[in-house]
Symmetry: C2
Subunit: 456 residues, 2 copies
């Protein structure tokens, strides 16, 4: 449904930025059979139980479950700590930052007083965890451990520490301070939830971690913060209706995937950069970075992904983007209605009298448009995505758009967009160094690390 | 001085990761004349007044000025808002996050009660600025406007809004709530400070924005938060002593620049990724990303720069790094002593009994080492930098190391590392769209934007 966002591709077209830089109608037409094959591959993946993210927005019972779990926190929880890594943290953060941001530097946010503050803890760095445990009141803090597989090392380590601390402080009452979000049937975290009768939420088996933003992994923290998760899911479902319609003209996810894949292959723009002109979307761009990098970066293929926040990137990356190697394609995301605005009074600030009687929103939009135009004029391909506002429905549609685009781009470039086979090795090395089984691996890794140390 | 950090290059050497992936002794020796030319170019830039960052750590009067300005806040300022873009925000954030982090989710940090909380505001997004102005008490908030040139559009826009609000609330007393950090002699912000007799601090003329972390741009917010800025500068000065010694064996910045430039040119690793295994260094990696991207991304040259935080990146980018295109070189930054630690009690968490009696610090270090080994074993070049702790002296040395490496890498690849000529176009477009002079530009940009909108 176009209503939740618009996608403009003109700034990446040969017509506007030249044949050496942009795609022509002929490029796009030639790729149609490939796009159709990708659509079929996604339908097959869905039938094989790999692409459950396409269907989760339709699950009314999921919204019920998270709303109920969130309601149980009200009035008895000052802080909710969401402990998860990667997809188990980025989705929650994307939803929270856009829809229920914390107030700045400890000032109260716009949230009801009986809603918890929410901290997404995606690290086992003791320099972070230790002060947190010292300062959070055990009897007013709830810990949400999130891991699809239930085997995430960092999450397990923090769970181990937190459980002991809570037991010490609260005795048997520790169980009421933990909510587990994991696979409904399998994995060590699910087993623990059963053994200890912990409150738990389910990530459907057909949904992988980085596709789990619109499952309880993201939805429970959002609901706890007061986000209307039904509206979020409705936006996603309305967007998804076009993606699975079988009609390529209604499939904006397919169009998006196709443009980015072809810009990479035909015009050498293998590095995809997303910049959002809304502070509330900064976490969503980080979420996108994982989705795009981890879904497609396989078998020597895939695209580099950079997440940036406009206009901050204009003062940090734009120089490279404008005048560095011509190997990038840009996705600028804008929000039309910022929700609040402020007028710059006359005579305007020093050095910029023309800002007088303009609003900060005007300045923000002009910077977005001015930068988009500068990139296009320099022959750098620019796609623009606009959301009418930063409400739950447009955000849900935006996330669904990108999950579907990633799932379609995979088969286009010949890799499976699901799974992450390349990350196991580092984890196994770490476990071996910590004393887990495999003595052979430990000595192999230690010897390699020793050689890496020389020459100092 | 090696004492503040160690740099290990073995993981990027041909000896360890193979001749197709790593550099040989011969590669490095062949590049020595070029390294020497780069050193001479930097000495010349310093003489021309472009590389003042080499000398600022030695300026005792700078520390006095920021400490005095910080002392003036004590007891009368609840919040200090640092308003700046790019280098005027990233340096402050790097120092604050590492050395004086805010407490989590509104909990009190480890800071003395008479120190202000500090918010770095690097956006003019009205969705951020409007609630901030509503919630911050005018008579207990100080605004620090930071811009080397004094012409930053976003900073000017926010200044325009804030000044009116403060005047409304405080009358003539608004002046006591503003501190300006800019060029000592030039620019609209300096003129405003003179006209209105505002308290002001100076960024030396020879220091550009992204090299200004160790000038009042970064030091004043750090001092306000209670950071020992003399120790920070001492660390930087001790590191710098090696960089300007004329002895390549003592010049770790030269070694670092040389490895990264040669990995790009000789082994196709043009995308440089920094991951820090310490949450406190997350902002420093963002600072580095700007420094590396904007200093070197010119004339079609330069390197892509990705900033990531370990271990979060292991769950978002590692898949791409391990199995995507072999075009990246990695810099893993580790902090040996996390400052605090926590033991995982027996029997250990579900699924990971081998974590029992280990600490979170052990897990963290094992993940860093295990990942470094996995990358190297996959033929992906890894440099490792270790800091003994996250104190002010090692951090100062680390920042000085990278500023010098960027300033040396520039002449190595044939671009000036100072200036950012590519960012002007977007700014001029924005100003034109907002009604500044140039009507021709406005109609040109509007027509281009219109063409970019089609096909929708």
């Amino acid at each position: 449904m176009g209503a939740h966002y618009t996608l403009e591709t003109g700034g990446a077209s040969a017509e506007v930025i030249g044949a050496a830089n942009g795609l022509s109608e002929a490029d796009l037409e030639a790729a149609l059979p490939r796009a159709e094959r990708a659509e079929r591959a996604l339908v097959e993946a869905r039938e094989e139980g790999l692409a459950g993210f396409l269907d989760t927005p339709l699950h009314g019972e999921m919204a019920d479950a998270v709303n109920e779990a969130a309601a149980a926190l009200r009035g008895r929880c000052a802080v909710l700590v969401v402990c998860g890594m990667g997809g188990s943290a980025l989705g929650a953060r994307a939803l929270l930052d856009a829809l229920a941001p914390e107030g700045p530097v400890g000032l109260p946010g716009g949230r009801a007083a009986d809603r918890p503050r929410i901290l997404v803890l995606d690290t086992a760095d003791p320099a972070v965890v230790a002060p947190l445990l010292d300062r959070l009141p055990a009897d007013a803090t709830t810990w949400n451990f999130v891991s699809k597989s239930g085997r995430t090392l960092e999450t397990a380590a923090v769970y181990g520490v937190v459980r002991s601390r809570l037991e010490e402080a609260l005795g048997a009452g520790w169980r009421e301070r933990v909510v587990v979000t994991t696979d409904p049937a399998e994995g060590p975290l699910r087993e623990e939830a059963r053994r200890e009768r912990l409150r738990s939420l389910e990530i459907p088996p057909s949904v992988g971690g980085r596709f789990s933003a619109l499952t309880p992994a993201g939805l429970f923290p959002a609901a706890a913060a007061g986000v209307d998760v039904r509206a979020l899911l409705r936006g996603a479902a309305e967007a998804a209706a076009g993606f699975v319609s079988g009609d390529p003209d209604r499939n904006e996810a397919l169009r998006l995937a196709l443009w980015l894949v072809l810009l990479a292959e035909r015009r050498g723009r293998r590095h995809h950069c997303m910049a959002a002109y809304a502070r509330g979307l900064a976490a969503a761009t980080e979420w996108w970075r994982q989705l795009w990098a981890e879904s497609l970066g396989k078998e020597g293929r895939g695209f580099d992904a950079t997440a940036a926040e406009g206009p901050a990137f204009q003062h940090s990356l734009l120089q490279l983007w404008m005048q560095g190697p011509a190997d990038k394609a840009f996705v600028l995301v804008e929000v039309e209605d910022p929700g609040a605005d402020l007028v710059v009074d006359a005579p305007g600030p020093p050095g910029a009298p023309w800002l007088a009687r303009r609003t900060l929103g005007d300045a923000h939009r002009a910077l977005a448009a001015g930068t988009a135009a500068a990139l296009a004029a320099a022959g750098r391909p620019v796609l623009r995505i606009r959301l009418p506002s930063l409400g739950p429905a447009p955000l849900g549609a935006f996330l669904q758009l990108w999950m579907t685009a990633a799932a379609l781009a995979g088969p286009m470039i010949g890799v499976s967009p699901f799974g992450q086979p390349g990350v196991e090795e580092g984890k196994r090395n770490a476990a071996a160094l910590l004393g887990e089984g495999e003595g052979d691996r430990r000595s192999r890794v230690e010897s390699l690390l020793d050689r890496m140390r020389r020459p100092r």
